[in-house]
Symmetry: C2
Amino acid sequence: MTIKTLEDLFHETVKDIYYAEKKLVKTLPKMAKQAKSPQLKKAIQSHLTETGHQVERLEKVFASIDKKPVAKKCEAIEGLLKEADEVMAEIEDARTIDAAIISSAQTVEHYEIARYTTLICWAQELGLDDAAQLLQATLDEEIAADQSLGHLAEDYVNQKAAA
Amino acid sequence: MTIKTLEDLFHETVKDIYYAEKKLVKTLPKMAKQAKSPQLKKAIQSHLTETGHQVERLEKVFASIDKKPVAKKCEAIEGLLKEADEVMAEIEDARTIDAAIISSAQTVEHYEIARYTTLICWAQELGLDDAAQLLQATLDEEIAADQSLGHLAEDYVNQKAAA
């Protein structure tokens, strides 16, 4: 039993999302390479830059609670990315590949939205105002990234309808 | 290569979320049992009933595209639930257990929100109006479930602040 308080749970969950963000820094370039449309490639590359900043922001969150930045294997992101890989391996059509990438990326964004929303709630309860502010900045970016992906998915639909 | 068109991708993704919903029908009773607060137990039990209806709705989606209901292992839900189990195993404090359950349940809701949002988008593109309507009914329930969990998380904060 390593989690005795909400503060411990907060710390463990920051380690979890730190692992996830670092994993994404490695994975997003691969996704951008697989994407066929220039708009989707650009959206992923731009979110990669943002993700790098989110990693640094999490390092500031660790510092704000006097902890060293440590990543703890995040089974959720492993499962989400394994699923994304499995689907990609079965697709041959270029346009379907982009639809699948957008879909997988949105499951990742939603995982992060859920995690950051919870972490902000706990940070507020624990009076960790600096951490709450840092996490809010990232949450805002994740929500915007999800919305951008949603627009790309809709464009895809409209394009097809117009074709 | 089994996915050649968006219709194939839609079908594969319905199989994926069908697996996830069926898995949740088995997992939610365990989560309800682990929950300490009566409100959280009740919320999970009520979502279990809803999840049963969502499984039936997915069977109607399969029927609407002339396919048999088949579940395909969903690595994402496996990862999300594995992570939830691992965290639970490390907690001893009752109030922290409830915070962790709410948090894990919200990651599951967000996975489902992402999946159903995508499926509705694709169903519309493919002219699958019946499927789109069925999936929309479930998406509305998932969003409401996530909001209820969010309120429980906030109540938890306020309760603690008042204590």
